[in-house]
């Protein structure tokens, strides 16, 4: 490499006009063992760059990277299952609640069912039940009528006796003994009968 060309190249280098290939040319020149004295001042810079270029990754970097990628993949899988487990829990609880709700619905529906829907079979059954009921009601009505008639009869006979109520009241006030009244009333009753 002649000096003139080298000087031009160097000038262009400082002015940032060199290409990547020309810069490589310069580095090659400065790595020569027989570097002319006047250029040695710039040697440290080109040596520095050359050294920095020689820095490489450790030999086991690829292995470590691969291992970490595999480990990360496993971790992701674990995370996936970890996400899946709570979902399963939620699904299980929903299933449980749903099951309970459905069973409760059927149980309550069974209890609400009216009794007759199970016992009544045909129209004849209804008719006999109605007959029974009517019969019972008629009996009750008869009994009530009889007692009413008896009451009316009693009141009428009491009125017929023409009792002096005033004397009776005074009697009860003089004679503190209740038995007198009871007796008098019994007499009245016996007479009435």
């Amino acid at each position: 490499m002649n000096r003139e060309y080298l000087d031009i190249l160097l000038k262009r280098y400082w002015d940032c006009e060199t290409t990547v290939a020309e810069e490589q040319e310069l580095r090659d020149f400065f790595s020569r063992a027989d570097l002319p004295e006047e250029y040695t001042q710039y040697l440290p810079l080109f040596s520095y760059v050359g050294e920095e270029q020689a820095v490489t990754l450790s030999d086991d970097f690829d292995e470590r990277l691969q291992a970490s990628i595999i480990a990360a993949g496993r971790k992701k899988e674990k995370e996936k299952t970890r996400v899946f487990v709570p979902l399963l829990r939620i699904a299980a609880s929903l299933l449980l609640i749903g099951g309970l709700a459905i069973s409760l619905f059927f149980i309550t529906r069974q209890q609400n069912k009216p009794y007759y829907t199970e016992t009544t079979g045909s129209n004849t059954d209804t008719n006999t039940a109605m007959q029974h009921a009517t019969h019972a009601l008629e009996k009750l009505s008869d009994a009530l009528q009889m007692s009413e008639e008896a009451s009316v009869e009693t009141i009428r006979s009491i009125d017929d006796l023409d009792i002096d109520w005033f004397t009776l009241d005074s009697l009860s006030s003089i004679a503190a003994d209740d038995s007198v009244i009871v007796n008098s009333l019994r007499i009245i009753k016996e007479e009435n009968i």
Binding site: Y13, W14, D15, C16, V20, E23, Q24, A33, Q41, Y42, P44, L45, S47, Y48, V49, E51, E52, Q53, V55, T56, L57, S58, F61, R64, L65, S68, I69, A72, K76
Partner: protein, 167 residues
């Protein structure tokens, strides 16, 4: 399709992405850790890649942001620790131990002055010099204009020239 992109576009970038992360955090194991995080994230979201226009630039932007975040958390962690020894790195020693010492000192100086550069200048310089990327690629990776890349690179190189001229 997506799985293919991972092998054809993303994985071939791993060394470049690693070096960019290393350029920011200056710690090999941290840089590898960041890259592993990024690749893992990309792999797990491979279904979403179709929405990304330039997957390559996206990867560079992502690793840059992740590295800057990591650097901030590292600074917090290291704040309580005593000053750690710089990583021991030497030039190939062709010459005398004296020469080696000088070279080591020069290297430390370049490293330090690069660190003092504004973020865009530092990253533009790194992507151009170390990763040999075109201005367009750098612009897309840093999410800035090509013009801005040129300006940043020019300033970074100027700074380096000034620094080296003092010797």
């Amino acid at each position: 399709m997506s799985t293919d992109s991972f092998h054809t576009i993303i994985l071939p970038l791993k060394e470049k992405l690693f070096r960019l992360a290393y350029g920011i955090v200056r710690d090999r194991s941290e840089a590898e850790d960041i890259l592993q995080d990024l690749l893992l994230k990309l792999w797990s979201r491979r279904d979403e890649w179709d929405g990304i226009g330039n997957l390559e630039a996206y990867c560079f932007r992502a690793i840059k942001n992740m590295s800057l975040d990591r650097l901030a958390s590292m600074a917090i962690r290291k704040a309580d620790l005593p000053e750690q020894e710089e990583e021991q790195r030497y030039f190939v020693d062709h010459h005398s131990p004296h020469q080696a010492l000088i070279q080591k000192e020069q290297r430390r100086m370049i490293d330090q002055s690069l660190r003092l550069l504004p973020e865009t200048q530092r990253l533009a310089f790194r992507l151009r010099e170390v990763e040999e990327m075109s201005y367009r690629q750098i612009a897309e990776s840093l999410d800035i204009s090509e013009e801005m890349v040129k300006v940043s690179l020019f300033r970074a190189r100027k700074k380096m020239k000034e620094l080296l001229s003092r010797y």
